[in-house]
Structure formats: C-alpha cells, structure tokens
Symmetry: C2
Subunit: 117 residues, 2 copies
C-alpha cells in the first residue's frame, strides 16, 4: 500500500477486529480528545488546551493529525486573522461514541465504589 500515509491504520494482519479499534485509539490522549469532542461538538485548538491542561502543544497537534488521518475528526480552517481552526467528529468518529460512553459509565462506577466511605 504505497499510497498510505504514515500512521494510517492498515486493516490487515489482525487476529481480532478489536485490535483495529485499539490501534486507532492508541496513544495517551486520543480517547480523551474524542470524548471532549463528543460532548462539545466543536472545539478549537486552544480550547483543547484548557480542557486537557496536561497535554502539550506538540502532543495535541500530533494526536489531532493522526485522528484526522484515520478520518475520525474533521479539521476546519477559517481563513481569518488571527486564524480559527475548529475540530469536530466525523461520522466514523461519532460511531466511537458508544465506546466512550461505556468507558465513562465504568469509570464513574469504579470511582464511586472505591471512594472511602
């Protein structure tokens, strides 16, 4: 597949289909980025930095680019000064939302059941 861009997932050589999902969500920040996008619909670059204070600029750019390559997020550039760039979920990305919702559910349950009485 010579025309594949770097980091784009291949869909081949998987034992289970779940591995495809794990690959597109791999990395420290992607699921969190998608989760915020699912809740806010449209987010700008610096809004992400406020929503995810611990992420560095480099990682944010990198993960967003990768999500874009895998067609999970849209990147819309408005040609203004100062520049405006908005990110949102693609249809493919929206189909990941059930996963994220279940993750949120489990996390809430876990936290509640492990809070000191």
């Amino acid at each position: 597949m010579p025309h594949d861009r770097k980091n784009k997932i291949s869909c081949n050589n998987y034992e289970c289909e779940i591995e495809v999902t794990l690959e597109v969500l791999s990395g420290k920040w992607k699921s969190l980025i998608l989760w915020h996008l699912c809740q806010h619909k449209v987010i700008r670059f610096n809004e992400f930095r406020r929503l995810i204070p611990k992420i560095t600029q480099k990682m944010l750019t990198q993960q967003l680019r990768n999500l874009e390559e895998n067609e999970l997020v849209n990147r819309t550039v408005y040609d203004e000064t100062p520049p405006v760039v908005e990110y949102s979920l693609t249809n493919l990305g929206k189909q990941l939302v059930p996963i994220l919702e279940k993750m949120d559910e489990w996390g809430k349950k876990y936290v509640n059941s492990h809070i000191p009485h």
Copy 2:
C-alpha cells in the same frame, strides 16, 4: 495512600472519569487479554500464548499481574505438578465487557467498510 501497591490506580486527580477506565486498560495487551477472557471464560497461561502469539512471556505475566492488582481478573492456582493456573474475569472485569463489545463492533464495521471492493 501508603498501602497501595505499585501500579494500582488511584481514583484521584482525574478531570474525567473516563480517564480511570483508560488507565486500567492502558498498555498494549490488556484489552485483548480481557476480550479473550470474556469469550473463553477461563484461560490458562500457555493458552494465552497461543491465543496471542505475538505477546512475550514477560509481557503476558506483567499485564496479567496488573489486571489482577486492579481486580479485573482472578488468578486461581491449583497445587498440582505440573502447575495449573487459570485466569478469569472478576465481576468488576465483567463490567468492562460492554466496552470491549462495542470496540469489537466498531472494528468489524471499520474493516468491512475499508475492504477493497
């Protein structure tokens, strides 16, 4: 929390609950291990190695121990020679199954829609 064992998740300092879930599932193999456990109910050490051929012995042990620490899997040792050790999902681990199922669903869809016509 001085009595916490290493690697055990803390439940603190999270912006979103989803981060808790991401943390217990972090690592290259955990979700895959849980997915196999969800399908086979009980799996022995070397069965895992056959199910996940690419995993090394070290990583398998390490990830299983971490899943055990976080109370997602049970480790049952039968005192025989040669030794028999069986792994299975705890109740807490079973509650992760919906996440894994949604991941499997998405992966199947993605693969199908990206297969060359």
